[in-house]
Amino acid sequence: MTAVWVIIGIVVVLIIIFIAIYNRLVGWRNQVKNAWAQIDVQLKRRYDLIPNLMETVKGYMKHERETMEAVTKARNLAQGMTSAGAGERGKAEGELSSALARLLAVVENYPDLKANQNFLALQEELTSTENKISFSRQYYNDSVLKYNNQIQMFPSNTVAGMTGFKAGEFFEVTAEEERKAPKVSFS
């Protein structure tokens, strides 16, 4: 009789552990989803800012047609890919980032534009949006890393395997400028 009770006890404990691990996995996955939504918000914000920027810049930059068109093109391309996966999308957003950086670099040649209040406000918003994109990307990738670790490590990997948790995809922006930034780590 006691053997039966011991077995029942073990089964109950196992079920409780299973539920606890499952719930924690759901928590991690939701964090990843939430982090992805944060990136999305910032990318949309950038799509919205660019037409305003073009409108402001147009009157001043007569000789930069090519640079301006590159930005508009990259923006439209990126906006058309909003339903693609993290990897694909990262490439398009990277193109947009570097096109924008090129445009803002030539602004240096237009002192009148640099004094324009409207432009200065837009520039602050754009700078901050770029930062927000990279910070939300950073948070997203951290979350994905933690989530993937949980999925691959014992014992949570057994629960994840049984209930069909899939590993998350990292969001890498593959622009040339981004790759140039030194990435040092010794841990």
């Binding site: 406000a121 754009l126 901050s128 910070f135 948070y139 841990s187």
Partner: protein, 401 residues
């Protein structure tokens, strides 16, 4: 198991529990001395503590912000500051952007408050806003946001209330014992015998020592949280140099914050009471020595908690950790980023920042700003009734809008 006890959170909990025990002791002895009954004293201590806790929990942030005469700003008042707070909110994964307050004070400093992340606020002085560039401001805001994210504000409020209660009880008890309690104790000693005298002596010693001990514990908790917040800021920004150079600028400033007091000191990023030219001894300071904080930040090989922990142990000796084991277990390699968002945009320089900040303070004071055709900025006070104002430079009269 010892690994666990080394962890910071456990240590903070033990320290807070230590303060709680001190409070109970004081209450008990108070009761023994005044009513020959420890329970009565315990009840009084509990009531005082309860009232102070309730006030601190529900009114603490508004009292703190009110005392420092902080004023809330929105995005349009200072887009740069607002955006930086939003950036750090995203990097830390907080749910909500904390309220942002400005304190009109040339001493550069900042603090965070709010009992939970949904009701949080960060306050920074105009001096800080003027002195720091974007990377530095990011580092400071990252530090404050991590106080919110790590629930340090709540921890400091709990231990602050305990400290306050101990100080108040001990203060009144010693006065009562010396001026009012003598007759009573003589009367009761005839019935209680020698035991009563021992209690009295222990009580007096404790009433003197307890506030000091409580204060030291409070400082110890505060210092630990500061290191942790520095490490988090480095992780969020991936750029420890920003915070390091901000701390350097703040330390170099000679002006003292007008509106801070002893109780609110641990809330600030930098101890507002440090004395110039004298190294505060480690034991009696709310903040770790600034040079050490800067040194640790500058020696970090990466931006992760593990990197911070490594340097910290190099400074303090192996085995003396500062990051909780639970946080270290989740730590993952994090690279440093290159300096400056300025690659994308030109940062406003010092003069421009000072101008922006003073514009902001005029606006918050409900002054109207009219720009005359000659380029002069006219500040119109809120009580101004006339329909037009004359420009003192060119004599044009400008309509007051």
């Amino acid at each position: 198991m010892w690994e666990q006890i080394r962890s910071n959170q456990t240590r903070s909990a033990v320290l807070v529990a230590g303060m709680g025990v001190l409070l109970l002791l004081i209450g008990y002895l108070l009761g023994m001395v005044f009513f020959d009954n420890g329970l009565g004293g315990l009840i009084i201590a509990f009531i005082v503590w309860g009232i102070m806790s309730l006030i601190a929990f529900y009114q603490g942030d508004s009292i703190l912000l009110g005392l420092s005469r902080a004023r809330k700003i929105s995005h349009d008042d200072n887009p740069r500051l607002y955006n930086i707070v939003e950036e750090m909110k995203i990097a830390s994964g907080l749910e909500k952007v904390p309220d942002i307050y400005i304190i009109d004070d040339p001493a550069p400093n900042a603090f965070a408050t709010g009992r939970n992340p949904d009701k949080a606020a960060v306050a920074i002085t105009t001096g800080l806003l003027q002195k720091l560039n974007r990377d530095e401001l990011q580092g400071v805001i990252g530090h404050e946001i991590s106080h919110i994210k790590n629930r340090d504000v709540l921890l400091m409020a709990i231990s602050g209330v305990l400290l306050g209660t101990i100080v108040i009880l001990a203060w009144y008890a010693t006065r009562l014992m010396f001026f009012g309690g003598m007759g009573r104790s003589r009367r009761s000693s005839s019935s209680g015998g020698g035991g009563q005298i021992i209690v009295l002596v222990v009580a007096i010693v404790l009433m003197i020592l307890a506030p000091i001990m409580a204060q030291l514990i409070y400082f110890a908790i505060s210092r630990k949280r500061e290191y942790m917040a520095d490490a988090s800021s480095a992780l969020y920004t991936r750029y420890p140099e920003g915070l390091a150079s901000a701390l350097e600028k703040i330390a170099a400033s000679t002006s003292q914050l007008k509106s801070a007091n002893q109780a609110t000191a641990p809330m600030y990023i930098m101890n507002p009471f440090r004395k110039e030219g004298r190294a505060a001894s480690n034991l009696t300071s709310t903040h770790p020595p600034i040079s050490e904080r800067i040194r640790i930040l500058r020696s970090m090989a990466g931006a992760s908690f593990a990197d911070y922990e490594q340097v910290y142990q190099k400074v303090h000796g192996a085995g003396k950790g500062v990051i909780p084991a639970s946080a270290l277990a989740l730590s993952h390699p994090a690279g440093l980023r290159a300096a400056g968002a300025e690659a994308v945009s030109k940062e406003p320089d010092r003069t421009e920042r000072v101008r922006q900040t003073s514009d902001l303070m005029w606006r918050l004071g409900n002054y109207k700003t009219i720009t005359c055709d000659c380029g002069t900025k006219l500040r119109v006070p809120p009580g101004f009734k006339e329909p037009t104002v004359r420009c003192p430079h060119c004599g044009r009269s400008n309509p007051v809008v």
